[in-house]
């Protein structure tokens, strides 16, 4: 798999998922992305955590929209109108709009997920244009900062507990916070020395091997962006519209060409093999 082709596919998927509020297109993008992830994810990588997080995000979107929006013809419950913001009728239409929003978020996240779940981080940085290599490395390091600190905090907490540390008051938390901060600083210095030892900033980034473009990579890199561009053009032309369930829930308008554009995103699952 060519990382640039994967990036082009992800960008195309995100574009289609966010270009229209129509849940049908979003579901199709979601299914395509799931197919790509299941077929091509790295060995040992689980989708369970990400899937669970997105289910929770969708449920939150449904709950927030249902409680905050009181428009719609089919009310299934009514909260006292005296309650600020959430008071009023709770409607089926609002719940469906929240579900559509949640599906859109899930589709976009799943479309971006191959960048981290299919590709290795170093191959992604390698795939960046040479002008962006330093920026990419810096961004990658920054993105790893929070997970690194979280891992460090867990290890230090476990170590402190083994020494009998049982925090009961807030003033005892510095026993954990101070070592975490010091470890993070030490890790930063180590990382900087490691990057300098590897010649970071001394010239153009070098690679062990060139990025190879196979026919399947070319197919993905052509088909997915063309589908995204066609989808956006259809959207601009008015053939693909948003879907709002208000005032009364209705079947979303679906354009055949829009569906074809979405289905074209399944191409990596068909032409790539891991």
């Amino acid at each position: 798999m060519n990382p640039r082709a994967v990036a082009a596919w992800s960008l195309s998927g995100i574009t289609i998922a966010l270009a229209s509020g129509n849940p049908v297109y979003r579901v199709l993008v979601l299914l395509c992305a799931l197919n790509v992830l299941v077929a091509l994810r790295r060995p040992g990588v689980s989708l369970r955590g990400l899937s669970l997080a997105l289910v929770v995000a969708t449920l939150i979107a449904i709950a927030v929209t249902t409680l905050a929006s009181h428009t719609g013809a089919h009310a299934f419950a009514t909260l006292p109108s005296g309650i600020p913001v959430v008071g009023g009728p709770l409607t089926l239409e609002a719940a469906l709009f929240g579900a559509s929003t949640g599906i859109g978020i899930a589709a976009a996240v799943f479309a971006a997920a191959p960048l981290s779940l299919v590709l290795m981080p170093n191959s992604l940085v390698d795939a960046l244009p040479s002008a962006l290599a330093r920026t990419g490395a810096a961004i990658g390091t920054a993105l790893n900062l929070i997970p690194g600190i979280a891992r460090s905090a867990t290890e230090i907490r476990d170590a402190q507990r083994m020494r009998g540390w049982r925090p009961r008051r807030v003033r005892e938390w510095p026993d954990l916070a101070v070592p975490v901060v010091l470890t993070a600083l030490e890790g930063s210095i180590t990382l900087a020395e490691a990057m300098e030892a590897r010649g970071y900033g001394s010239g153009a980034r070098t690679h062990y091997g060139d990025i190879v473009w196979r026919p399947a990579d070319v197919a993905v890199c052509v088909v997915a962006p063309v589908a995204a561009i066609a989808f956006v053009l259809l959207r601009v032309a008015g053939l693909i519209g948003d879907w709002y369930p208000f005032p009364e829930v209705s079947v979303p308008p679906i354009d055949v060409f829009g569906v074809v554009c979405c289905l074209a995103l399944a191409i990596p699952a068909l032409v790539w093999r891991r």
């Binding site: 049908v24 579901v27 199709l28 299914l31 395509c32 799931l34 197919n35 299941v38 077929a39 929209t65 905050a68 929006s69 009181h70 428009t71 109108s81 600020p84 913001v85 008071g87 009023g88 239409e93 609002a94 709009f97 948003d242 879907w243 709002y244 369930p245 208000f246 005032p247 209705s250 079947v251 308008p253 679906i254 354009d255 055949v256 829009g258 569906v259 074809v260 979405c262 289905l263 399944a266 699952a269």
Partner: protein, 269 residues
């Protein structure tokens, strides 16, 4: 397991055909007769100009000395979609006569068109309202106008309200008649007209007095450009199969089947 996935993949297009046929069928709504009435002490005009330039005029009679513009609009018999913001913020008019077809929960889109409210006091010129439809009070002889206009540029006023409420002879003393039931039904959107009735209907009986101050609808005599309310459904949307939905369902079925097959293969490997 594979059989179950194949069944799901095959069932989706069938479900799509059913949904598509039902959705097409629901667009063809029945038309009901219009009940025109003029037997009210107060009347105000309503002018609705659609985005395509079509104009609907209504003369709405009401019992109270003044009513809100929203009440007047809802009593006109036109289809109205409203979003309530709760508290003192009132409500917004999102949809009139099925335009736009749908709208977001907050009523307004970021860049789309919306219904601009105009008010004419006592036969004067239109003035864009600084208040929402649920806050603007309308008295006898006033007119309200709604124009579907884009958020950018100027907001031209709808056509003049002159003639919307033609002079109608004062109603005779109320006597109960069999038309009373139909008169009350005129307030609901489900009883819209196939063709506007230009004659004032018989007077209202005293026994029919809804709690609301707005009691009925009068169609003006001169409505040459009025939209036929019996044809409110989307044009050319007869019963049939939604091809897009069918293709989407087949595609989704295929993707689900592929997903299941890959998951099984990965689990066995």
């Amino acid at each position: 397991m594979i059989r179950r996935l194949v069944r799901v993949a095959l069932a989706l297009p069938v479900v799509a055909i059913g949904i598509g046929a039902m959705s097409s069928a629901t667009h063809a709504g029945p038309a009901a007769p219009l009940c025109a009435r003029a037997a009210f002490p107060h009347r105000a005009g309503l002018v609705v100009e659609h985005g395509d330039g079509q104009v609907i005029r209504r003369c709405v009679g009401f019992d109270a000395s003044s009513v809100t513009a929203l009440s007047l609009l809802q009593a006109s018999g036109l289809e109205v979609g409203v979003a309530s913001y709760g508290g003192g913020l009132g409500a917004a008019v999102c949809q009139i006569d099925n335009e736009p077809t749908t709208y977001p929960p907050g009523c307004f889109t970021a860049s789309g068109s919306y219904w601009v409210l105009f008010v004419s006091r006592g036969g004067g010129a239109w003035a864009a309202s600084t208040l929402g439809a649920s806050s603007v009070m309308v008295a006898s002889g006033d007119d309200i106008g709604f124009r579907y206009d884009s958020q950018t540029g100027a907001d031209p006023a709808p056509p003049t309200p002159a003639g919307t409420c033609p002079a109608v002879p004062p109603p005779p003393a109320p006597t109960p008649t069999p038309k009373a039931t139909a008169a009350v039904r005129a307030r609901t959107p489900s009883s819209l007209a196939t063709t506007p009735t230009l004659r004032p209907a018989p007077p209202a009986p005293a026994t029919v007095t809804p709690a609301s101050g707005v009691l009925g609808v009068v169609t003006p005599a001169a409505t040459p450009t009025a939209r036929s309310l019996g044809s409110l459904g989307p044009a050319g949307d007869g019963p049939g199969l939604n091809a897009g939905l069918l293709v989407a369902a087949i595609g989704a079925g295929g993707l689900i089947g592929l997903l299941g097959a890959r998951s099984l293969r990965r689990r066995r490997a």
